[in-house]
Symmetry: C2
């Protein structure tokens, strides 16, 4: 997605060799008009599939999923929680995922009642690194007897191998911008 | 907002005397089409004010803010973080807020660069209890030399006094549904 690559280059910031910071439009401050363009691009890439629900992870993923939902005909959006609130007292699925930028392991939780057997689930997220978060969500989908029909990431750090790994597991993956290298403040796209 | 009250009664669940669970459309699973109606209602209530930015708190607040932004002409949405990621290494404002449902104290953080002097900020959130989260956000706005032009909550637990407290502090508050009492599974609106 050319507009996204341009936005990453003009508004993003490369740090070291592994981090690209896009807190100006994707991770802290949100450019909702641009997120709608991202939603339209996901719809274009996944135009041939039927989506019953969009699954993502709090927090930034919520913005992506909400901006994409109208394009897919307003399926319910479900976001996995990293911590269970005191009101989450019914059954839930849980899967572990490591966050690269936070250096922590999160236990992603989704209430059982929100993923049903046979549903076709589209997983969307802002970043893909090693693909751990998406793999954890896909595991939850499987456990629920539902089907992951696609995995979409806005920005993929290609050098961390996430999409390769997920494709080997049999998933269809679409990343809107794949970064091949971050070197001394310079971002190179695939 | 009548449609909201109806949705709370039909899809929500009252627990004990203090909790109303609306994880089916607002807090875990999101009904984006309905969130757009909520955004339109906020715009109606705040139709006379100019909004430079919408400020909210992760995670559920993001969905509300993103669904409202188009109605206000797509101002940037900024969401306060409860934990600082390793990439948040520049200056940020911080204010404490207690979460009623999680029983924890969060230190809400907003990068300094995203709230600028003189900006008119609309604070939006999903729930209002004692008003701690909104007060914390308003404190951050003040610290940045910006102005809180309004505070909007989707659901207010009126019996916890949040909006009264915020109005005493001089803020304009709009809650789309005010719950007066939760008693043995029965929700009474103001």
């Amino acid at each position: 997605m050319e507009a996204l690559k341009k936005k990453i280059l003009t508004e993003g910031k490369a740090i070291g060799t592994e981090i690209v910071k896009v807190d100006g439009f994707l991770n802290h401050q949100l450019d909702v008009r641009f997120l709608e363009e991202i939603g339209a691009e996901f719809k274009k890439r996944f135009s041939d599939i039927h989506v019953d629900k969009i699954l993502t992870v709090e927090a930034s993923g919520i913005a992506i999923a909400c901006a994409s939902a109208p394009l897919f005909g307003y399926p319910p959006v479900v976001f996995a929680k990293k911590a269970a609130p005191s009101t989450m007292n019914e059954g839930f699925y849980e899967a572990e995922a490591k966050s690269f930028t936070k250096g922590t392991v999160s236990k992603l939780k989704v209430a059982e009642k929100f993923i049903n057997e046979g549903e076709k689930i589209l997983i969307l997220d802002d970043f893909m690194a090693s693909g751990e978060a998406s793999a954890a969500l896909a595991q939850i989908v499987k456990e629920a007897g539902a089907e992951t029909v696609g995995i979409g990431a806005v920005i993929e750090k290609g050098f961390q191998g996430g999409s390769d790994r997920l494709r080997e597991m049999g998933y269809r993956v679409e990343s809107l911008a794949v970064i091949d290298r971050i070197d001394d403040g310079v971002i190179t796209f695939r």
